[in-house]
């Protein structure tokens, strides 16, 4: 096992973490501000991927597709917020789970209706094709590095947005006291729609970026959604810092576990058994990490006071 291979896997883990952060940031923001658990967040991710693939295929440009994915996911988010989600803020979590579960059924089947059951494919844009050399002699896909870059930019952008702008101030105020900010004359309904659309756009962006790495198909959002849940539970629901930390942790632990566990087991038991057992254990690893963290910190690593 060379250093280059290890580094490559580490970067893969980071790239998965960044993708999860884009999902988890929206999810945790929506929960933090509106107190809503949104299962349909994975559908917004899927909508972003489909919009990107369809528009890129029609126009020939990945970049127009990427812009379309942001617009489509944000629009879908705003539409469901106004028609459905808005009615759920005062309901208990069970109603929220069910209503957003119903939205998943509608979105998944609706997408299958529009695009058929066959997956779509999205090519990596020419600008980002190719590989960069790694120290130690390896090569690494430029596109994956670019995804990591996007994640860093989004994390910084969110930080500035939340802590330095007027909108961010209102979002933070809405998090801590909904009645007070409404009494001060802020249009809380519009604010909620904006926050929801922002979260949706981030999910759509994640879907579009990942769409070029794997096939774009119905159901692609669900594994990402569940991993994003693990991320925000580890990080502390409502905390964007927690989402960033949790996402990187989950991404790296999952990738490195799949890479290293079978090898580590092979040192102890025959290789023929080590492969499957290691793979099975690796697929459970992040959940074990989550259970351990929760056993000691039941409200996550960066829990907010509310």
């Amino acid at each position: 096992m060379s250093i280059a291979l290890l580094l490559e896997q580490l970067l893969n883990g980071l790239q998965l973490g960044v993708m999860l952060f884009l999902m988890a940031a929206g999810l945790t923001l929506i929960f933090g501000v509106m107190g809503l658990i949104n299962l349909a967040h994975g559908s917004l991710y899927m909508i972003g991927a489909f919009a990107c693939a369809a528009v890129a295929a029609a126009t020939g440009s990945f970049w127009i597709g990427l812009a379309a994915s942001l617009v489509a996911a944000a629009a879908a988010g705003a539409i469901i917020e106004v028609t459905v989600i808005r009615r759920l803020y005062d309901r208990d979590h069970l109603d929220q789970v069910l209503a957003t579960f119903a939205l998943i059924l509608i979105f998944s089947e609706g997408t299958r209706w529009l695009f058929g059951s066959f997956p779509l494919y999205l090519d990596i844009p020419p600008l980002l094709q190719g590989a960069v050399p790694l120290p130690g002699g390896g090569q690494y896909q430029l596109y994956r590095l670019a995804i990591i870059g996007v994640g860093v930019v989004v994390a910084l952008g969110l930080y500035v947005l939340i802590s330095r702008t007027r909108l961010g101030m209102r979002i933070r105020a809405g998090e801590s006291d909904r009645e007070m900010i409404a009494a001060l004359g802020v249009d809380i309904r519009t604010l909620y729609t904006v926050v929801f659309a922002l979260g949706a756009a981030l999910a759509g962006l994640a879907g579009a970026l990942v769409g070029a790495l794997q096939s774009v198909q119905v159901g692609m959002g669900e594994p990402a959604l569940i991993l994003a849940f693990v991320v925000i539970v580890i990080g502390g629901i409502g905390s964007i810092k927690g989402a960033l930390f949790g996402a990187i942790l989950v991404g790296v632990v999952d990738t490195m576990g799949r890479f290293l566990l079978p090898k580590a087991l092979a040192l102890m038991i025959p290789a023929a058994q080590a492969g499957p057992i290691g793979a099975a254990l690796a697929s459970m690893l992040i959940y074990i990490v989550m259970a351990l963290i929760l056993a000691f910190r039941p409200s996550g690593l960066f829990a907010t006071q509310s």
Binding site: I37, L94, A99, E109, R112, V230, I237, M284, S299
Partner: protein, 329 residues
């Protein structure tokens, strides 16, 4: 006594539902339509799984989004034991497999209880959204384990070549198998009824309504909830074993989070915390699936719309509609 009149109305509705579920396959048998017997068996088994979840969700207010884990574990208990019995290969340490349903159910109950205890012990340290997501995550953990563990079929699942046996009954006959499932469902409903009326049930419902007051009278909510969670998992596990025998097949899809969602949907469609809520919900759900599935292959789209309508506008489910509002119990 207004309460008494509500009870009578609910009892009448419950009896009608129980008779309807029994009468439907009998009529189907008389008309020589075995397909409808299978449909009724499916209803009975899904209702049984939801009765299990109703202990945690309805009585205890514990929104477990991971009960598919126990449904699937029960299914795999049936599948694995049957495979070993069929092949004549011992399970481990010389313990043979078995094709006897009562033993399989016992194993399913024990496995689900033993796995529900640690999952519950960690999950119950949290509440609200955390609890929902953590139970979901644990179920996914078991799902991925089943997918990546090759010994019992992995992603492809495991076939049960001959339906398991029940002493004195020919389980291969659809109607006989329905009657077994129906009897187990009625037993589980009896258990739920006893539990709800017991001191334990009172404590569990008090833990849902006001945990602080329950602690103040010297009962630890955590222990009550943990026992309820484990009991709930055990009942759902038996349903899983029956489901595997119905389909003669078990696969990771029984463990998937869609299954967990469906189980919650059954309860909400029927009426949360109501004795016959899961039965009414399972009847409605399978009916929707069958009726919509016959009209369009996009039936899930319309199921989603109906479900959305029920959540937003028709709280209380079918039993709320038929038998009036639930008593505050």
């Amino acid at each position: 006594m207004t309460n008494a009149s509500f009870m009578t109305r609910e009892t009448i509705v419950n009896t009608a539902l129980a008779l309807l579920l029994l009468g439907f396959p009998l009529a189907a048998q008389a008309m020589g339509e075995p397909f409808y017997i299978t449909l009724a068996t499916r209803i009975a088994i899904l209702a049984l799984a939801a009765v299990g979840l109703n202990i945690a969700l309805g009585l205890g207010g514990l929104v477990s989004f991971g009960h598919a884990a126990f449904f699937g574990l029960g299914g795999y208990a049936a599948g694995i034991l049957a495979t070993h019995a069929f092949d004549g290969v011992p399970l481990f340490a010389g313990i043979p497999g078995t094709a006897s349903m009562p033993i399989i159910w016992l194993v399913a109950v024990m496995v689900c209880g033993l796995i529900a205890l640690p999952i519950g012990a960690i999950s119950l340290r949290t509440t609200g959204v955390y609890f929902i997501m953590i139970t979901l995550a644990f179920a996914q953990m078991i799902y991925y384990f089943a997918v990546s563990w090759p010994a019992y079929g992995g992603e492809d699942g495991l076939s049960i070549y001959v339906r398991n046996e029940f002493p004195g009954v020919n389980t291969a006959q659809p109607l006989s198998y329905f009657l077994i499932c129906y009897a187990v469902l009625m037993a589980a409903l009896g258990l739920f009824w006893l539990l709800r009326g017991s001191r334990f049930g009172a404590a569990l419902q008090a833990a849902r309504q006001n945990a602080t007051r329950l602690s103040a009278v010297g009962i630890a909510p955590f222990n009550i909830r943990l026992v309820a969670f484990a009991l709930s998992a055990m009942v759902t596990g038996v349903a899983g074993a029956l489901f595997a025998d119905l389909n003669k097949f078990v696969s990771p899809s029984m463990l998937s989070w869609h299954m967990s969602g469906e189980l919650i949907v059954l309860i909400i469609l029927g009426g949360k915390g109501r004795l016959f809520g899961p039965v009414a919900g399972a009847m409605l759900y399978v009916l929707f699936e069958f009726a919509l599935g016959g009209i369009t292959e996009r039936w899930q789209f319309f199921l989603g719309l109906i479900l959305l309508g029920v959540v937003l506008f028709a709280r209380g489910g079918l039993l709320g509609l038929l038998a009036g509002k639930a008593r505050h119990g």
